[in-house]
C-alpha cells in the first residue's frame, strides 16, 4: 500500500480528477472509487478526505448539492468552472513531478523519451 504522505500530497489532484470523470460524487463514494481503481493500493483515509473536500469547496473549485437519499441527507460534490480549469493544471503538475522523480530514481533514462 502506498505511503500516506505520498497520497496526501496528491489528494486534491485525485479528487479533482475523479470529479472530472464522474460529474458528482459523495465522500464515501470517492474513497471506494479510489480503492477500486487502484485495487486497494491507495486508500484515502476519512481523516484526510473531508478536510480536503471542504478546502476545495472553500477555494471555489468544488460546489455542493444536498440530496435526500434513503431517508438521509447526502452531500454531493462536483466541479465548478474554476475546478474544471484546475484539473488540467494539477494533472500537468503531477505528471511533471512524476517524470522528475523518475529521472532521480533512474538517472540513466533519457528525458526526451518522455518516460
Amino acid at each position: 500500500m502506498s505511503s500516506n504522505a505520498l497520497i496526501k500530497g496528491s489528494l486534491q489532484t485525485i479528487i479533482l480528477k475523479l470529479l472530472e470523470e464522474n460529474e458528482k460524487m459523495y465522500g464515501y463514494e470517492i474513497t471506494q472509487k479510489v480503492k477500486e481503481l487502484t485495487a486497494g493500493e491507495i486508500k484515502i483515509t476519512e481523516g484526510a478526505l473531508y478536510p480536503a473536500l471542504h478546502k476545495l469547496e472553500a477555494e471555489g473549485l468544488l460546489t455542493t448539492e444536498i440530496q435526500q437519499v434513503d431517508n438521509r441527507v447526502r452531500k454531493y460534490y462536483s466541479l465548478t468552472k474554476d475546478g474544471q480549469k484546475e484539473v488540467s493544471f494539477k494533472l500537468a503538475e503531477l505528471q511533471s513531478f512524476v517524470e522528475s522523480m523518475q529521472r532521480i530514481i533512474n538517472p540513466g533514462l533519457k528525458p526526451e523519451l518522455g518516460i
Binding site: Y26, G27, E29, G47, Y50, T64, E65, I66, D70, R72
Partner: protein, 227 residues
C-alpha cells in the same frame, strides 16, 4: 449492499450523537459515510465495522472538522457578499445603484420631521427583520430531515451557514441602535437637525444596498447550502 435495520441505524445515530456535532452539514456527511460504509457489510460484521469507523471519526476529529467547516462557511458568506456589493458598482449595474440613491435622495428631500427621519431609517431594518423570520423558517425546513434522523437527541442542530448569515442580519440593527443612541449620550454641541434628512438618506441607502446584497447571497447559497 444491504438495507440497515432500525436497531442498526439507532446504533449509528447513538455513536454519532456522542460526538456532539451541531453542524447539520457535518452531521449529515458523517452519518451518510457511516451508513454507506456499513451497508457494504453483513449483520455479523456490523459491530466490528462500526468500531473501526469510530476509531476514524473520533470526537476530536469531528470537532476539528466542524470548526474548520464553520470558519470556511463564515469566510465564504463574507466573501460572496463583498463580491455582490462590488457588482452593484460595476458598469453593468451602476444604473441599479444610482436608481436606489436617486429614490432615497428624493425621499430625503421630502423628509421634514424627526418622525419621518425615523421611518426612513427604520424601513430597511423592518424589512431585514422580516427577512430574518423567513430565513429562520427556510433553514428549519431545510434541516428538518437531519433533525428528524436525530430526533430525541438533546443537541441543538443548526446549519453552519445559518449563524453567520443571521449575524449579518443583526449587524445593521445593532449599528442603527448605536447611531441613534450614541449622539444622545454625548452633547457634541452640533445642531444635527438641518443635515438629519441627508444623514438618514445615506444610512438608508447603505442599509438598502446591504440588505439587497444579503438577499442575493441567500439566493446564491440556497442552491448549494442548507439555507
Amino acid at each position: 449492499m444491504r438495507q440497515l435495520n432500525q436497531s442498526e441505524l439507532k446504533e449509528i445515530q447513538l455513536a454519532i450523537f456522542h460526538k456532539e456535532i451541531t453542524s447539520a452539514e457535518v452531521l449529515a456527511e458523517v452519518y451518510d459515510h457511516y451508513v454507506s460504509h456499513l451497508q457494504g457489510f453483513t449483520e455479523k460484521e456490523f459491530a466490528s465495522q462500526l468500531w473501526e469507523l469510530e476509531q476514524k471519526f473520533t470526537y476530536a476529529y469531528c470537532h476539528a472538522l466542524q470548526s474548520k467547516y464553520n470558519k470556511m462557511v463564515r469566510e465564504d458568506i463574507g466573501k460572496t457578499q463583498w463580491q455582490v456589493l462590488r457588482k452593484y458598482f460595476c458598469t453593468s449595474r451602476w444604473i441599479y445603484a444610482v436608481g436606489i440613491l436617486a429614490v432615497l435622495y428624493f425621499i430625503a428631500n421630502q423628509t421634514q420631521s424627526e418622525k419621518e427621519v425615523g421611518i426612513l431609517i427604520l424601513s430597511p431594518l423592518i424589512l431585514l427583520t422580516m427577512i430574518w423570520f423567513v430565513f429562520i423558517w427556510r433553514v428549519a425546513q431545510k434541516i428538518r430531515p437531519i433533525k428528524r434522523t436525530f430526533k430525541g437527541i438533546a443537541i441543538p442542530i443548526n446549519s453552519s451557514s445559518a449563524t453567520p448569515f443571521s449575524e449579518r442580519i443583526y449587524l445593521p440593527v445593532l449599528l442603527a441602535q448605536v447611531l441613534i443612541y450614541f449622539p444622545r449620550l454625548f452633547d457634541f454641541g452640533i445642531d444635527f437637525n438641518p443635515i438629519l434628512p441627508g444623514i438618514a438618506a445615506v444610512i438608508t441607502a447603505v442599509m438598502t444596498l446591504y440588505m439587497l446584497s444579503l438577499l442575493e447571497v441567500w439566493k446564491i447559497k440556497s442552491k448549494t447550502a442548507l439555507l
